[in-house]
Symmetry: C2
Subunit: 240 residues, 2 copies
């Protein structure tokens, strides 16, 4: 029976993964990349499990859905939103590379997440590393056998390549990789698998940049609504 709790959720419209982490000693919890559409589902489970939600973390300003941070803050008054200090978004707490986010400090089994700045998909992208568990929450920086696009929101393929190779692939190979999205029904990967089999990141830098420049993806349907809302952490009045 593990003392630490990790629950993965999926939002079907934007194919987003949300993660709920809890320290079962103190019952303190945090959530990574909640989606406004599924906040009620997540809130119900948080309540049923008797957890106290302290933080709503965003790996970056999402362009494909509105964050659930704002709505969670109204449902759980003690909850504070967190995002990178260079993201340009408003939040209760701004983090930078190397910062630690902690819950359960008053008990014997605290959860500590290391914030690692990984610009490239957006300039404020941050990965959260849970060393005790052996896992990294990669946001859109590294996806399972893929990676986030680099053609808007300060995207930069050269920078993304550096971030993944120097900040993610240097982790122990058994660490689990939990991304913010998957479109193929995969839920998890490992550093080893992505180093060996990611079809983009196994390429040389120049080839990677070339691939990213020629993806020819559509303009994201939700971006004009999602980005302004997410700059306010979903706290404008018309989020419903």
């Amino acid at each position: 029976m593990s003392k630490h709790f990790l629950r993965q959720f999926f939002e079907l419209e934007s194919s987003t993964y949300t993660y709920l982490l809890a320290d079962l000693t103190t019952k303190e919890a945090l959530i990574i990349d909640p989606v406004v559409n599924t906040v009620e589902r997540d809130a119900k489970i948080i309540q049923q499990l008797g957890l106290q939600l302290r933080y709503a973390l965003n790996t970056h300003i999402h362009a494909d859905h509105i964050t659930g941070s704002g709505k969670l803050k109204t449902l759980f008054p003690g909850c504070q939103s967190i995002i990178s200090n260079v993201s340009g978004a408003k939040a209760d707490i701004y983090i930078k590379d190397g910062d630690l986010i902690k819950i359960g400090e008053s008990g014997k089994t605290p959860i500590i997440l290391e914030c690692r700045s990984t610009p490239g998909h957006t300039n404020g992208c941050t990965c959260f590393i849970w060393h005790d568990y052996g896992a990294i929450f990669t946001g859109d920086t590294l996806l399972i056998r893929g990676c986030g696009r680099t053609d808007f929101q300060q995207g930069n393929a050269d920078q993304l390549y550096t971030s993944i190779h120097t900040k993610i692939f240097t982790l122990p190979e058994y660490y689990k990789v939990y991304p913010a999205h998957d479109y193929t029904g995969q839920t998890c990967s490992t550093i080893l698998e992505e180093k060996k089999y990611n079809p983009r990141l196994t390429k040389l830098r120049e080839e990677f940049i070339d691939i990213m420049t020629n993806l020819k993806l559509c303009y994201p349907k939700q971006i004009d609504k999602a980005v302004p809302a997410n700059l306010l952490c979903g706290l404008q009045n018309d989020i419903e």
Copy 2:
């Protein structure tokens, strides 16, 4: 770093969860409830991880998708299909209540699954319990905050109620519950949560039977194609 490997996959069309389990000492693996549509994805990962697939388990004869067992057997010649002896389906190995399925016996970290017969959704429904990991794969018998329907395929609400209460809810409360489906983006539950919060199973038997009798669900779209195929474990010629 865990010696045991569990990977959850999702098939988007039928909202089915498939589970890949492996013993990393011997590299032996088994898969629970593979779907024919996603066999290629699963096979690629099995190959990338260097695993030897020994068994393809089916919790029951699914009515909403065609099992991937047949196709997996052609891709991995050593793989044997497994289903309950009372299901009426063909398979390489027939199991009954209390049987143990083992992989990795030649190494020091074998995986042992206990087969537990749980009729009610279908008469051949079987749950697989991984005691070392603290998990049960419930098929359609118990879903997250729900359960399988009982209005076709020898379904019997009275029997389902007995199966869940005597065969599943008697497990330790911290055991994880991994179902064959979820339609709300939830990936996992626990025995404790389902005992406390499952809206159907927390009812008295008579009320449960009443709920199940009045669900007024549609006839499953795929049933006339899926059930005959699954009776042959997906081994007829026109599965593509």
